[in-house]
């Protein structure tokens, strides 16, 4: 349960009494969430929950003058004397406590340095001053209400499956599918009353290869595994067209002995991940590798990933510089490690800003191999208008929708 401040509660109360749609009825937008809606706390939320919380929490960077991190403590200088207000409102993963050091100065203490580093890298996000407030939530449903007057009065996020969410949109059971895999895009062909908005791909579906599990400790084995995968056919199944496949790495001159069995962990409930996993199983079987598929719900998936508790795990990997930090040594101050991979040469290359060299090192060590472009789209029912730019990692754009018809 969140800890809304009194000010937020008052805002909600005023909104409930005054917020009305253009037709007089409160405007409610129903949004699908294909991953779980557990853990509505910022910093611990992931998947749909994390994306949805962008409607609740604002990036407070504009309030921050400067910040200094010392281990597990981040001292923040504010532009305005709002330290007391923000100290009570900060929400983040592994938050220990906040201290008000002055009218415009507060300290945020975390349970571990990693959380502190993440918080610092998020530009001190965690202030619930977003356009909506989370007023009700459980694992299947969240209800957000607008804090101040706006075109949409409330957002109801309902848990559904990938298979069902596009159907529910067709049936007008929900109004927005914020993030759907490309394989379902064709289902909306010709449906003029549904607006399909492609989300610019910023990453790929990647296969992370554990560098710590005995079967995959040898980089040559990892390279051979990566080379055994035919990405074109996988892409055709997973994202609907072969063109979204990433280039296949070169095959080894000599194939090393490959493990007889491996497990593949992936996020349950996503048909594109499932399809990719099944194709991987078929392809690796040809190399004598029996791949056990392990679909996991989001929380378990996240937990296992962060704990490096997998042999193979399929997850998104961005193409921005920030993504390189995943492969920094865990003890590196800027590391966002989810693999346990550590190579001082790589760290040095990143430190030098030599990303080409960093790619080379990764290609040699193969802690990860990209499979196909992660193509997603958002689908919005025609009664909602507004120039929006859906993002793959944030649902903040939903707040910019406005009704232009009757639901």
């Amino acid at each position: 349960m969140t800890r809304p401040s009194l000010a937020v509660l008052l805002l909600i109360a005023s909104c409930r009494s005054s917020c009305e749609s253009h037709s007089g009825e409160p405007v409610l937008v129903r949004v699908s969430a294909s991953t779980g809606l557990d853990a509505p706390e910022l910093g611990s939320a992931s998947g749909s929950a994390g994306y949805a919380l962008d409607l609740v929490y604002d990036i407070a960077g504009e309030l921050v003058l400067s910040s200094v991190r010392d281990g597990r403590r981040v001292v923040v200088e504010l532009k305005e004397p709002r330290a007391a207000e923000l100290a009570g409102a900060v929400q983040f993963r592994s938050l220990d406590r906040t201290e008000v050091l002055g009218p415009s100065r507060l300290a945020v203490n975390f349970a571990d340095e990693s959380s502190a580093a993440v918080y610092d890298s998020f530009d001190h996000a965690g202030v619930p001053i977003g356009p909506f407030a989370l007023v009700e939530h459980d694992s299947d449903r969240w209800l957000l209400e607008r804090r101040a007057a706006g075109p949409i009065d409330a957002i109801e996020i309902v848990h559904t499956t990938r298979q069902d969410e596009w159907r529910r949109l067709m049936a007008r059971d929900i109004d927005v599918v914020p993030l759907a895999p490309a394989m379902y895009r064709a289902e909306f062909a010709g449906v003029d009353s549904i607006r399909v908005i492609d989300i610019p791909p910023k990453g790929d579906t990647a296969l992370y290869l554990s560098v710590t599990t005995p079967e995959l400790r040898d980089p040559a084995v990892r390279r051979a595994l990566a080379a055994a995968i035919r990405r074109g056919p996988l892409a055709r199944v997973a994202c609907g067209e072969a063109s979204c496949g990433r280039p296949d790495p070169p095959e080894p001159m000599v194939w090393p002995p490959l493990p007889e069995s491996l497990s593949l962990t992936f996020l349950a409930g996503d048909d594109s991940f499932l399809a990719a996993a099944q194709v991987l199983a078929v392809q690796l079987r040809e190399r004598g590798i029996e791949l056990a598929l392990e679909p996991l719900p989001l929380d378990a998936f996240t937990r296992r990933g962060l704990a490096y508790d997998y042999q193979l795990i399929m997850a998104p990997l961005g193409r921005d510089d920030w993504s390189y930090r995943r492969f920094l040594s865990p003890e590196h101050p800027d590391a966002l490690s989810t693999t346990g991979y550590a190579n001082p040469s790589y760290d040095a290359a990143i430190g030098d800003g030599d990303f080409a060299r960093a790619d080379q090192i990764l290609a040699e060590d193969m802690p990860v191999t990209r499979l196909h472009e992660l193509r997603r789209f958002a689908a919005v029912d025609g009664w909602l208008c507004g120039e929006v730019e859906p993002q793959s990692s944030s649902w903040r754009w939903i707040a910019d929708l406005e009704p232009c018809g009757e639901p």
């Binding site: 049936a171 059971d173 289902e187 399809a275």
Partner: protein, 574 residues
């Protein structure tokens, strides 16, 4: 009815009406045939699509059977099943069992084969009814059917394969079907569940609560119906026999009949063009003939008005009309000649009549003069005779001079013009009566005058002669009757003046009266004394456009009346 009107009516009846009637009948008949063709076409399409669905489902079933067969005999059944079903996005929960019912591959939580196992192992494939998840927040939105296929290898059943088929799988053949420009195909389950719709927007109803059962009923009987989406369509239905699903081909009424309407419009346009063409041709060919007829008609009217000088210069093209035109000209020429001859004769007759009248009138003063001279010569000292001589000289000699002058004019000029002037009827008759009283011839006859009438414009001398002649004849009748009275009366009548001359001189028989009044009478003095004098009266009446009337009572007397209008005709010539 004028010839143009007649021609127009004829054209309407002969060309326009039949063409219009043909157009209407043809359009109606073609329209009905086209509608039937539309319906038949849609029915053929429905049947074709139903067959296509049947084939598609059959191929799905065969594919499942192949999957089952491959899996049944694979060394690694689960791996084989996985490899074969990765691409089958709409085949879910596939399980393969052997002939003993033991699970070889697939999830144990897959579809239950309990109800269909015996059927499958007996070699019969089966399809469940469409499973539409119940309404509720957590329902699955997929319509599915459970398919069970026997695995037949080398002629015997070696197992079975079952799967849940997501019915989005059958959208493909429905989506590809097109009916005309805007029609679509709809697929309904046996219970009226919408499974697929060719229109992308309508497809949204597949996953919504949409009552399509009424449409099923409508497809059975009605030709057109309104879909749940509110469109009026022509329906054609066909059944997917293996599952009892209904393929409905729907085409909007407007679009289905658009071709019919276009054809009707074209037929109507063709008919209208034919009518216009007929009228143009009729006008082009007929206007010359109509003009010829009208020209003949105008020419004939002119002839009827008495203008015999005109001729038809332009000859009609039609032979009969040309003959008529030539004949009319000849007739006009003949008539003109006859008319001229008649006028000449009339002039001679008129000349003769006037001359005869003048001669008649001359006789009286000459006779009076002769008698007076004889009487005077017989006894020059007789004062009475001398008085009469003086009277005759004063009264008859001037008249004689006037008559001679009229004769001269008639001989030199050919006619006597009516010299109209104001005539006082009462004074005229008084003067005449006075003259008659003094005439020795009519001693013993009483002459009386009476009446009054407004003056009229007339030729004084002619009117006086006419009235004098009437009175003279009346006096002669009295003389023959050994005395009597002649009454001269004037009165206003019908805007003009009536001169009545009545006598009690014995009257005349009706036949004689008629002949006297109509002028068909040639008498001698010996018969009645009525002759040329009345001819003058008739002539004076004619030139003044007056009338001569009379009545007589045999044994009693007669009355003859001369009526004159207030104005004579303009410059009437004798």
């Amino acid at each position: 009815m004028r010839i143009r009107t007649y021609g127009f009516v004829l054209l309407i009846l002969v060309a326009v009406v039949p063409l219009v009637a043909f157009g209407i009948l043809a359009t109606r008949s073609a329209g009905d045939a086209a509608v039937d063709e539309v319906r038949a076409g849609n029915q053929r399409l429905a049947d074709s699509i139903a067959e296509r669905i049947e084939a598609y489902l059959d191929s799905s079933r065969q594919r499942l059977a192949l999957i089952g067969a491959a899996t049944r005999y694979a060394t690694d059944a689960p791996a084989m099943l996985q490899a074969l079903t990765v691409d089958a996005r709409y085949l879910r929960e596939v399980v393969v069992i052997d002939e003993g019912g033991e699970l070889l591959a697939g999830s144990a939580d897959g579809p239950s084969l309990a109800d269909q196992l015996d059927q499958a192992l007996a070699g019969t494939s089966s399809w469940s009814a469409v499973h539409k998840a119940p309404a509720g927040e957590q329902r699955s939105f997929a319509h599915t059917v459970t398919v069970v296929e026997p695995v037949i290898i080398a002629g015997e059943v070696r197992g079975a394969v079952a799967a849940v088929l997501d019915l989005v799988d059958v959208w493909s053949p429905i989506n590809q079907a097109r009916v005309g420009a805007g029609g679509f195909v709809r697929l309904l389950s046996r219970d009226g569940v919408l499974l697929a719709h060719g229109h992308p927007e309508e497809r949204r109803h597949v996953f919504a609560e949409s009552d399509q059962a009424a449409l099923l009923t409508a497809a059975e009987g009605e030709d057109t119906t309104v879909t749940p989406e509110g469109n009026e369509v022509i329906l054609a239905a066909a059944e997917v026999s293996s599952l009892g699903w209904k393929v409905l081909v729907e085409q909007s009424v407007a679009e289905a009949l658009d071709g019919v309407q276009t054809m009707k419009r074209q037929l109507a346009l063709l008919s209208a063009m034919a009518v216009v063409l007929a009228m143009v041709i009729a006008w082009a060919l007929g206007r010359r003939t109509v003009a010829d007829v009208e020209r003949l008609e105008r020419h004939t009217r002119r002839l009827a008005r008495g203008d015999l000088t005109g001729r038809n210069d332009a000859r009609p093209r039609i032979a009969e009309l040309r003959t008529l035109s030539v004949a009319l000209d000849r007739m006009a020429e003949s008539l003109d000649t006859l008319h001229r001859e008649a006028r000449a004769k009339e002039r001679v007759t008129t000349f003769g009549r006037v001359a005869a009248g003048l001669t008649h009138d001359l006789r009286q003063p000459i006779e009076a003069l002769r008698m007076s001279i004889e009487t005077t010569l017989a006894d020059p000292d007789d004062e009475a005779a001398m008085e009469i001589f003086r009277w005759v000289s004063e009264h008859e000699l001037p008249k004689l001079s006037g008559y001679l002058e009229d004769l001269r004019r008639l001989a030199t000029e050919g006619d006597l013009a009516v010299e109209a002037a104001a005539v006082e009827p009462a004074s005229m008759v008084e003067e005449i009566a006075s003259e008659l009283r003094g005439a020795p011839k009519w001693r013993g006859v009483e002459f009386e005058t009476s009446g009054a009438a407004p003056s009229v414009r007339a030729d004084y001398r002619l009117v006086r002669r006419a009235v004098f002649n009437l009175a003279a004849n009346a006096a002669d009748a009295c003389v023959r009757n050994r005395g009597g009275t002649v009454e001269l009366r004037v009165r206003e009548h019908d805007g003009g003046v009536m001169f009545d001359v009545a006598d009690d001189g014995g009257g005349m028989e009706p036949e004689l009266l008629i002949r006297v009044l109509e002028g068909d009478f040639h008498s001698t003095k010996r018969t009645s004394g009525i002759g040329l004098g009345l001819g003058v009266v008739r002539h004076v009446a004619e030139v003044h456009q007056g009338r001569l009337m009379g009545e007589s009572q045999p044994g009693e007397g007669s009355r003859l009346s001369l009526w004159l209008p207030p104005e004579p005709p303009s410059q009437k010539r004798l």
